[in-house]
């Protein structure tokens, strides 16, 4: 890979299509004509209604699923090349929805060590990676705890640490916050945001919570297997009517903003959060 673009981009998706049960009566087209480029260090959020193809797309990012049309390159490696599959999975780590389905060991640090052990990493190196991964997700003090006794948010942070111990360059969260309480969601989001900012980790976060898209660099909206919007959050949520058409909603602050503009009090589209709206309104009234 010598061209400059390929070095900037960690994942390149071109004309990706995916059919489940191809050639059978149950054939379902889950993805169609998807083009997407994800730049190193980006924080990308993917939203879309149930069945829009979000998870199918995520599973193409590390070769869990292979394209039935088009191609996916991870760090320049084609996911269809069986010789590169392990390199690809090491490059892109995945965290799934149910924290209970991802735990394999009875002690937190052993759970995190599972991946690197399977890679045949030497023992001292595993120790180093496990300690580092636990510190990165702020779970160091729980290293000897039993994972099943942790809260949902803590379990997901252990799952993230397990992925980090493989030293990936990109982390995919496939609705990893869906089953958590508000505090657990905050813990997980704060953790990945910090990893993104401080460690330069590329993050692809798939979610149903529109609020979680507000802090993304870029939001991709999917509907019926296609990408229908691909823009910064301010722009995406400015297109509320289109989002509602496909069964999505806008965050409450943006809904308030819309009602205000219906009342002749328009608020700039750059205002996305509670704090920003409070600030803007107080400034305007002065």
């Amino acid at each position: 890979m010598s061209c400059a673009a390929a070095e900037k981009e960690i994942i390149e998706i071109d004309g990706l299509g995916h059919r489940y049960g191809a050639g059978t009566d149950y054939e379902v087209k889950a993805l169609e004509d998807v083009d997407l480029r994800i730049v190193r260090g980006e924080f990308l959020v993917v939203i879309g209604p149930n069945g829009s193809g979000k998870s199918t797309l995520a599973r193409h990012a590390n070769g869990l699923l292979l394209p039935t049309e088009g191609r996916v390159l991870v760090d320049g490696m084609d996911t269809r090349d069986p010789n590169r599959l392990w390199d690809i999975r090491r490059t892109v780590g995945m965290v799934f929805q149910n924290p209970d389905n991802q735990i394999v060991a009875t002690v937190v640090e052993e759970d995190i060590a599972f991946g690197p052990e399977n890679l045949g990493v030497p023992t001292e190196e595993i120790r180093r990676r496990v300690d580092e991964a636990m510190a990165l997700v702020d779970m160091g003090e729980f290293s000897r705890h039993a994972p099943h006794l942790l809260s949902g948010g803590q379990k997901q942070r252990v799952a993230i640490a397990g992925a980090l111990a493989m030293r990936p360059r990109c982390l995919v969260l496939d609705e990893a916050t869906a089953m958590l309480d508000p505090r657990g969601r905050q813990e997980v989001l704060r953790t990945v945001r910090r990893l993104n900012r401080e460690e330069g980790l590329t993050v692809i976060h798939i979610t149903h919570f529109m609020e979680e898209a507000l802090e993304a660099d870029r939001v991709v909206v999917m509907d019926r297997g296609r990408i229908v919007m691909d823009a910064p959050p301010g722009e995406v949520f400015g297109r509320a009517a289109e989002l509602e058409d496909i069964g999505l909603a806008v965050p409450q602050v943006i809904e308030v903003r819309r009602h205000l503009s219906d009342r002749g009090l328009s608020v700039p589209s750059s205002v996305l959060t509670v704090e920003e709206l409070v600030e803007h309104l107080c400034q305007s009234r002065r």
């Binding site: 209604p49 149930n50 069945g51 089953m179 505090r183 069964g247 409450q252 107080c282 009234r285 002065r286």
Partner: protein, 304 residues
């Protein structure tokens, strides 16, 4: 119908060094046709508490009364009859766990919903009526009823699957519906559809609704009263609006009020004279407009 607990306590692994008091001397009463929310951080005892409402769990101490009937009368004379009692209680109080669609198993929607009524020993004609009725109760009826009832539940959207699972409980014709995190994992449309179905259900059938949720927006639209649990105790109780406006208490418990509440309180904290007990974005905008245009304000400057 009514559900009442008196000094209800539940200790897991009682008598061992790992004993854990999940519910601690809770006394509450939920009346006929009421809609009550139960919230609290993970591990606060919400799910343990509601599993007592239909006798799935037996209290370590204290009492549970459904329509005035004590589920766990201690005297020997009732012991033989107790099993039958609990079965009828479970019919009266329908409990819907998190992700109930994971429990769908039949080949068609019809068969799945018919499972309960058939177990009650109802004939095919009555079963058919119950299935149609339950489907219409969750908003899956209309012209599509024949169609959807013949489909595989697994071919439906997430929101539809969840409604089918709820229909399966409604086919038992309970007087109380207890839902644990009913909208978790649904997309906004699925969520709205389910909330509307529940609101209509309650209005039309006078069901008592008990909703356990972390989602303040769901509780705001479904319930008029909420209880806040922390470490097994009821720490706050009152009208939903009023409890949600206690941002300090909620935050301390790791809960978060809907953004609209944070917004109004944020404005109030900056000296704005606005109501802080609003839950709806449209109401909030109206209130903000009133404040912006009130004396001392200069609404023309709001324009971007």
């Amino acid at each position: 119908m009514s559900i009442e607990t008196v000094d209800l306590t539940h200790v897991y692994m009682a008598g061992t060094p790992n004993a854990l008091t999940a519910v601690d001397r809770v006394s509450l009463r939920m009346g006929d046709g009421e809609a009550v929310g139960i919230m609290g951080p993970t591990g606060s005892g919400k799910s343990t508490l509601v599993q007592h409402f239909n006798g799935l769990l037996r209290p370590t101490s204290g009492r549970v009364l459904v329509d005035g009937e004590d589920l766990w009368r201690a005297d020997e004379t009732h012991r033989r009859g107790r099993k039958a009692d609990l079965r009828s209680i479970r019919r009266k109080v329908g409990l819907i766990f998190q992700f109930p669609e994971h429990q769908l198993f039949e080949e068609t929607v019809y068969e799945d919903i018919a499972f309960g009524p058939r177990n009650l020993g109802l004939g095919e004609a009555e079963t058919r009526e119950r299935v149609a009725d339950a489907l219409s109760a969750v908003g899956l009826a209309g012209d599509a009823v024949e169609d959807i009832s013949r489909r595989s539940p697994f071919s439906l959207s997430g929101g539809q699957m969840r409604r089918v699972a709820i229909a399966g409980v409604l086919a038992m014709q309970p007087g109380t519906l207890v839902l644990d995190e009913p909208t978790a994992g649904l997309d906004p449309r699925g969520r709205r559809g389910l909330l509307e179905a529940l609101i209509r259900l309650r209005r039309e059938r006078n069901l008592t609704l008990i909703v356990v949720s972390h989602n303040m927006e769901d509780l705001a639209s479904l319930t008029e009263r909420v209880l806040v649990l922390d470490r097994g105790r009821v720490v706050e109780e009152g009208p939903t609006r009023q409890v949600f406006s206690r941002l300090d208490v909620l935050r301390e418990l790791g809960l978060d009020a809907p953004p609209v509440v944070s917004l109004m309180q944020g404005l109030a904290a900056r000296g704005a004279e606005v109501r802080t007990d609003l839950l709806d974005p449209a109401e909030a905008a109206a209130e903000i407009e009133r404040w912006m245009r009130s004396k001392g304000g200069d609404p023309d400057r709001v324009h971007a």
